[in-house]
């Protein structure tokens, strides 16, 4: 297996790139594994990696119906941050950011985590207090955060709309300097390669068609490439959670599938050095610039249940309006592509990482639009849950039964209306 470094890149350059191995093997499925992870996205692959690395469980298969990272891992706007306000969520996402900070080294794969800083703008005095609470909460939890005034924001990003023409004036922003962006595909590939090197079998083009159970306990999965027995099964298929969990007899969940669009412009020379979040009344928008130069941005959900990975015009237009509202210089910048991903929208806006009514079947779902940034922590804690068959301190709150028990974690306070989270 080739180790990646500047030396290997130079060596292979000199010998015509002939010495690179496959990034991961393409094995035949074994008849039985200790753990089968359903879903070859970032979360599933990270789970497999940490099962092997943290828990020494290497007899693991990741079963993916299509290609690795083909779901939301490869469709999101790549923002990584830990500016959550609700208890446990703050700590969970901060653990994730800490894992991100060393992820390229850990995986020996450049996931391009760029800690360029995220600015969450606010536009009313009341919103300033809300953002101050965010800063206080983050600082209390040991996370870097600063409350900036309008002049400070203007000094950092001079070409936002500070004019009197802006519908909502920029009064200031919350800055998290350690937040930023990462190369989404590389996250899936990096985890896949690292997990593969630890012995994990990655099975692409292998669709799970049934979840095998005996006496209330999971025993394996039925796949398009035959039966695979497993002592434990973890499901990490955000967007299709209901579909897969139904195979285990769990027909109804506190989740709706919604689509979220994402947008990228043509490549430009550096125009924006930070991630910007816009939260004016009735507007939701975020934008950053990829290393390749495209402006990457997104906004609200399309607001109806959907499994179609394509969006509709009203949100396209709305998102363009938001873009113009904060960066009116974008008028002549051209949109290159827009697409959509299917979000597991949970009933309280927070993910579910939990044991299930089926013994040794675990679910990792309901990430709403926040799953990408959670990838390493999700893998870390889901692996822990699977290995130990009990949730750790940062996982217990995210249980499936929190809804019926009345312990929802409602980051936005919107209640059981998934489209509003």
């Amino acid at each position: 297996m080739s180790h990646y470094s500047v030396w290997s890149v130079l060596r292979e350059g000199l010998r015509g790139q002939t010495g690179w191995d496959r990034a991961w093997r393409d094995p035949e499925p074994k008849s039985e594994y200790d753990v089968v992870i359903v879903g070859g996205g970032g979360h599933g692959l990270a789970t497999a990696y940490y099962l092997a690395k943290n828990h020494g469980i290497t007899n693991v298969a990741v079963v993916e119906k299509g290609w690795l990272g083909g779901g939301n891992t490869g469709r999101n706007t790549t923002i990584v941050r830990s500016n959550y306000v609700q208890p446990v969520s703050t700590q969970f996402y901060e653990h994730s950011v800490q894992l991100w900070e060393n992820l390229s080294h850990d995986l020996n794969y450049n996931v391009m985590f760029s800690q360029r800083g995220q600015l969450g703008l606010f536009h009313t005095p009341a919103a300033r207090d809300g953002q101050a609470k965010r800063v206080n909460t983050m600082r209390a939890c040991g996370i870097d955060a600063e409350l900036l005034n309008r002049e400070q924001v203007q000094a950092m990003v001079p070409h936002l709309d500070y004019s009197g023409n802006a519908r909502f004036p920029i009064l200031g922003a919350v800055l998290q300097r350690r937040a930023g962006t990462a190369r989404h595909d590389a996250v899936a590939w990096g985890f896949a390669r690292a997990a593969d090197r630890l012995g994990v079998d990655i099975l692409q083009q292998t669709e799970v068609q049934g979840i095998l159970r005996e006496g209330g306990r999971v025993t394996g999965v039925e796949t398009s490439r035959g039966t695979i027995r497993a002592k434990k099964v973890g499901v990490a298929v955000a967007g299709s959670t209901g579909h897969v969990m139904a195979m285990a007899g769990i027909e109804r969940l506190p989740i709706e599938s919604h689509k979220l669009q994402a947008f990228v412009s043509e490549p430009l020379k550096p125009l924006l050095d930070y991630v910007i979040g816009y939260g004016a009344p009735g507007a939701h928008f975020y934008i950053s610039q990829s290393d390749k130069g495209g402006m990457v941005f997104g906004g609200d959900l399309d607001f109806y249940n959907s499994y179609a990975q394509r969006g509709n015009l009203p949100i396209v237009q709305d998102v363009a309006e938001c873009a113009m509202a904060i960066m009116p210089c974008l008028g002549r910048v051209k949109l290159l592509r827009h697409w959509a991903g299917i979000m597991d929208m949970s009933m309280d806006g927070t993910h579910i990482m939990s044991k299930t009514p089926v013994e040794h079947l675990y679910m990792n779902a309901g990430w709403c639009s926040g799953g990408f940034k959670a990838t390493p922590a999700s893998g870390w804690h889901f692996a822990d849950l699977i290995a130990n068959d009990r949730p750790d301190d940062l996982t217990a709150a995210f249980s499936l039964d929190r809804f019926e028990r009345g312990y929802v974690i409602d980051e936005k306070g919107m209640g059981p209306t998934p489209k509003l989270h």
């Binding site: 015509g16 496959r22 207090d129 909460t137 519908r167 412009s265 290393d291 309006e321 827009h338 306070g413």
Partner: protein, 968 residues
């Protein structure tokens, strides 16, 4: 390439000379020219640089698939990066410049990357640059350099000065494309009485007609016919996407120089009954050595430049082809007097056009020329697919045809995956159940007459001709392989992706075509793979031992061609970004000195400063006046809903936690409603005007949401209830009259209403007249003072407000805004938006006692779940600083520790300086609430602003807790 203008012909107006500049040099073109044709006519050969290796690029096509001539047009605020020169019409004074090069595209120091290219293979950046230190520091140093090197054009940082707008249309049939098939389809449909819109992205109508010798006249005649038949013809209009319901998104380029009041681009949202796609086909390149050299061009584009623009792209031409289409190009070159040699990869082909030397079984292997094209090494193609150089053909123009691929993007937007067709060696649109028909070259039908027949059939919905291979089938050749030294064979000239990159990706396991795209970036440039996709798929198929059909294609996404963000935003910019909601008293408030603030979409009076007053000065003065005399406040933004009907009382009983059915006529009551999950949703008052008529008020924030929820309940859950809802939020204005002298103020303006405590007790409502207008008055207090709310139709609001103000002013009254309104309610311990945050329950807010035990209501079943009654829940308390001189901050956390490591015990939700108490006070939500904390000290933790402040936890009812001032 050394292009020049032909003496005659073309669809250009030689009587309309236009001056333009490229990289500071002035040139001349003609009306009808594209920027590319004009540059070419002036002999400009290098117009761009590649993304990664910075190799020189010339014009490669005549359409939106352009991969080389991508320029910046305009300067300053008008600067538009990444403009494809072939689709940009020339206009007088056009300013253009090269991109991604320093100091210029002619001499670009970035060319050094080309020397390094052996190290810059696909995905090399995933394998290095993360450095040796832990963390992200090293990567971010590299990233800075990479970001500067990447990107293409430079965008302006100044606001786009131009205007855009949005328009809507409907039609029976939308025809996309104005080539032979599109024109035929539109004609046939219009002939059948259909209302037709024909959209063409080019600035000149005619499609492939324009490339053909003699085609221009045919196109002009056909278009005249369509005009006569009433077809709506829209040139320069790109159908960028097809969305659900077959709704088409289109962008019309209205003007290149719209001036101050004109429109630059217009977004069209078109709702057609049926769609005909006559979007044509795009000529594919071949992957051979240094095929990115300026002078290498699509063969069909050569014909377009000759026939449409009367420009010769070179003086000595070689054509390399795998199919018949390039033979016509050879004939066009001969007509223009340009010597041409045609090499055909096939062992045989059609007859050679007169004056053309044809070499069969011969393929291009590599171009020669270090800067621009000087010749091409060609040779025979062996059985094993490898070629060896047999000779060099000198040339300054190499026209290449690697076959054609139908434009099936728009159908793909709707979901159907393109299907590989072995007859035409291309992907055709997948089948769809929607009323979308594809015809002409877009359907793989290339012969001109068949295209017309295909278009006609599509226009009327009949069956048309099918793709045919013809007598000399095209050869499916994509990559010219050679033994020996590796050649750079480009398949995506914009992103500098080579055939070897695809093969490397395959060796590393990126076999899925989606992985291949993402790993090599093939097809992710501004042409979205219009030229590179098929070759890339073919090479991946070859490398992985699969067929092209098995390999499949990536998903085409909207927009078909890049579209400006400004156009999509339309007029929804600046103050039109979101509606501005103004109360009926808006102008009155402004005229009387209000400073406004945003509250959701509303503009509300924030405070009314006297000269020199800050917001803090003003709101304290306003508060004091309300407590001492009287204040008037515009509360019109509250939601107001008429709830009427025989079951209205029962309905309200179900909606609110407290009882309403027995509310007497002439009285109002405060109510709280929950969500289905038992959390507090909204609060307000309900006034009973008669047995069957109630007026409900809601918070400003939830006005629309409550209305929608009530409608939902009546229409879906309780359809048996006889209740009518009418929102009167926008129809009625509301004025709070608060303070000890509120009665005196009201009494001065109304004669027909007894305002004595006996006649008009607390929570009473009465009809009255003020300033000649009918009003409703309720004795309601949000401030804790004796207070009234006066509701009046919006049109009379100014007069009523003025009358009240005339009465209040002599009593030393004030106008007050939302800042004082909020401060007064904090003193009183009333909850508002900052406590009703969607996470608090009735019990949390100390309102548990309101819940009726005698009836069921929304949320009752859920409000007492384990987690909802957990003693550790955040509950409402009051808070004050231990040191009375310190201020408080909303958003500060509360805990007994001074150095927090977690979320602490709670947080402060709202604060105000209290003139009555002489110090700051606040409301807060704390774990365990008053029961656990009353009288105890905590630390207010506010690193965001003020740092730590010692505070004491108190009852939230700071002011007149018994309500004597309000009732008395």
């Amino acid at each position: 390439m050394s292009g020049y203008r032909l003496d005659q012909g073309g669809l250009i107006d030689r009587a309309d000379p236009l001056t333009f500049t490229f990289d500071g040099t002035e040139y001349q073109g003609f009306g009808g020219d594209s920027l590319a044709s004009a540059l070419m006519a002036n002999g400009v050969d290098v117009v761009g640089r590649g993304f990664k290796y910075h190799r020189p690029r010339g014009v490669m096509s005549a359409g939106v698939e352009e991969g080389g001539a991508i320029l910046t047009v305009g300067s300053g605020r008008f600067r538009e990066p990444n403009v494809k020169a072939p689709v940009q019409p020339l206009y007088q004074g056009l300013v253009s410049s090269g991109q991604n090069a320093w100091p210029s595209v002619r001499r670009d120091v970035g060319r050094i990357n080309d020397v390094m290219k052996r190290f810059l293979a696909a995905g090399f950046y995933y394998k290095t640059f993360f450095g040796v230190r832990g963390g992200t520091k090293d990567w971010m140093l590299f990233e800075k350099v990479i970001r500067r090197a990447a990107g293409m054009g430079r965008a302006s940082r100044a606001p786009d000065p131009d205007r855009y707008e949005t328009a809507h249309a409907t039609c029976d049939l939308l025809v996309v494309g104005s080539g032979p098939a599109g024109l035929a389809a539109a004609k046939a449909a219009a002939g059948a009485g259909k209302d037709v819109i024909l959209a063409e992205q080019d600035f000149t109508l005619g499609g492939s007609f324009l490339a053909r010798s003699g085609g221009i006249e045919q196109a002009v005649a056909a278009i005249e016919g369509l005009r006569a038949a009433g077809v709506t013809i829209m040139p320069r209009t790109c159908v960028f996407g097809l969305y659900d319901g077959c709704v088409a998104g289109m962008i019309e380029q209205v003007s290149d120089d719209p001036g101050l009041h004109g429109v630059r681009q217009r977004t069209w949202v078109v709702r057609p009954r049926e769609i005909v796609l006559a979007t044509g086909a795009i000529e594919q390149p071949l992957a051979f050595g240094n095929n990115d050299c300026p002078g290498v061009m699509q063969a069909g584009a050569v014909s377009t430049y000759l026939n449409r623009y009367a420009v010769a792209p070179g003086k000595r031409a070689v054509i390399a082809t795998t199919n018949d289409s390039a033979y016509a190009v050879a004939a066009d070159l001969v007509t223009a007097g340009i010597p041409v040699t045609l090499i055909d990869a096939r062992p045989s082909g059609p007859d050679a056009p007169e004056g053309v030397k044809v070499m069969h079984g011969t393929v291009p292997i590599r171009t020669t020329g270090s800067y621009v094209l000087e010749g091409v090494d060609v040779g025979p193609l062996a059985e094993d697919g490898y070629a060896t150089v047999s000779r060099t053909l000198p040339c300054d123009l190499l026209a290449v045809s690697g076959g054609w691929t139908p434009v099936v993007h728009l159908t793909s937007h709707r979901g159907p995956k393109p299907v590989w067709n072995d007859t035409i060696h291309g992907f055709l649109a997948g089948s769809t159940t929607e009323p979308i028909r594809t015809c002409g070259a877009a359907a793989g039908i290339y012969a001109h007459d068949d295209c017309v027949a295909s278009g006609q059939a599509a226009g009327t919905g009949d069956a048309g001709p099918q793709p045919e291979a013809g007598p000399h089938p095209a050869m499916p050749l994509y990559e010219i392989k050679t033994h020996g030294k590796k050649l750079k064979r480009f398949i995506d000239p914009q992103h500098d992706v080579t055939a070897d990159d695809v093969r490397l990706a395959e060796r590393e396991g990126f076999v899925s075509i989606e992985h291949n795209k993402r790993y090599t970036t093939l097809g992710m440039a501004t042409d979205q793979g219009k030229v590179g996709n098929i070759i890339g798929i073919a090479i991946m198929a070859d490398a992985s031992g699969r067929t092209i059909a098995e390999t499949g294609t990536t998903t085409f996404r909207p927009p078909y061609s890049p579209i400006s963000i400004g156009a999509l935003a339309g007029r929804g910019t600046y103050m039109h970004f979101r509606p501005v909601r103004r109360t009926p008293l808006h102008e009155w408030n402004l005229a009387n000195g209000a400073v406004m603030t945003d509250a959701g979409l509303w503009k509300r009076p924030w405070y009314f400063p006297l000269e020199g007053e800050s917001v803090d000065d003003a709101y304290i003065r306003e508060m004091k006046a309300v407590r001492a005399t009287v204040g008037l406040c515009d509360v019109s933004s509250l939601g107001k809903i008429m709830v009427q009907g025989p079951d209205a009382g029962d309905f309200l009983n179900r909606v609110y936690v407290n009882g309403f059915a027995k509310l007497p006529v002439g009285k109002a009551r405060y109510g709280v409603m929950l969500r289905d999950d038992g959390m507090v949703y909204d609060d307000g008052t309900v006034w009973r005007m008669s047995d069957t008529d109630f007026l409900m008020t809601t918070t400003t924030a939830n006005a629309a949401g409550v209305m929608a929820k009530l409608e939902e309940l009546l229409q879906t859950r309780w359809p048996d209830l006889k209740v009518q809802l009418t929102s009167v939020s926008d129809q009625w204005a509301g004025i709070a009259v608060a303070g000890p002298k509120s009665r005196e103020t009201l009494q001065a303006v109304t004669t027909d209403c007894d305002l004595s405590d006996a006649a008009f007790p607390f929570m009473g409502i009465r009809e009255a007249r003020i300033a000649g207008a009918d009003v409703w008055i309720a004795r309601i207090s949000f401030s804790g003072e004796r207070a009234f709310e006066v509701y009046v139709r919006g049109g009379a609001a100014d007069a009523v407000m003025q009358a009240l103000w005339d009465a209040a002013r002599p009593l030393d009254g004030v106008l007050y805004g939302t800042e004082a309104l909020g401060a007064l309610r904090i003193e009183k311990g009333h909850v508002a938006g900052s406590e009703l945050d969607g996470r608090t329950s009735l019990h949390d807010l100390g309102l548990g006692g309101m819940a009726s035990s005698k009836k069921a209501f929304i949320g009752k079943a859920m409000m007492d779940r384990e987690g909802m009654r957990d003693p550790d829940r955040l509950q409402l308390v009051g808070v004050a600083p231990v040191d009375a001189s310190r201020r408080l901050r909303a958003g500060a956390l509360l805990d007994t520790r001074t150095d927090l490591i977690d979320h602490g015990q709670g947080f402060i939700t709202a604060v105000t300086d209290s003139p009555d108490l002489g110090h700051w006070i606040g409301l807060a939500l704390v774990k365990g609430g008053l029961e656990r904390w009353e009288g105890k000290e905590m630390t207010s933790y506010d690193p965001a602003r003020d740092g730590n402040t010692a505070v004491r936890i108190l009852s939230p009812h700071f002011f007149d807790p018994k309500g004597e001032r309000m009732h008395g």
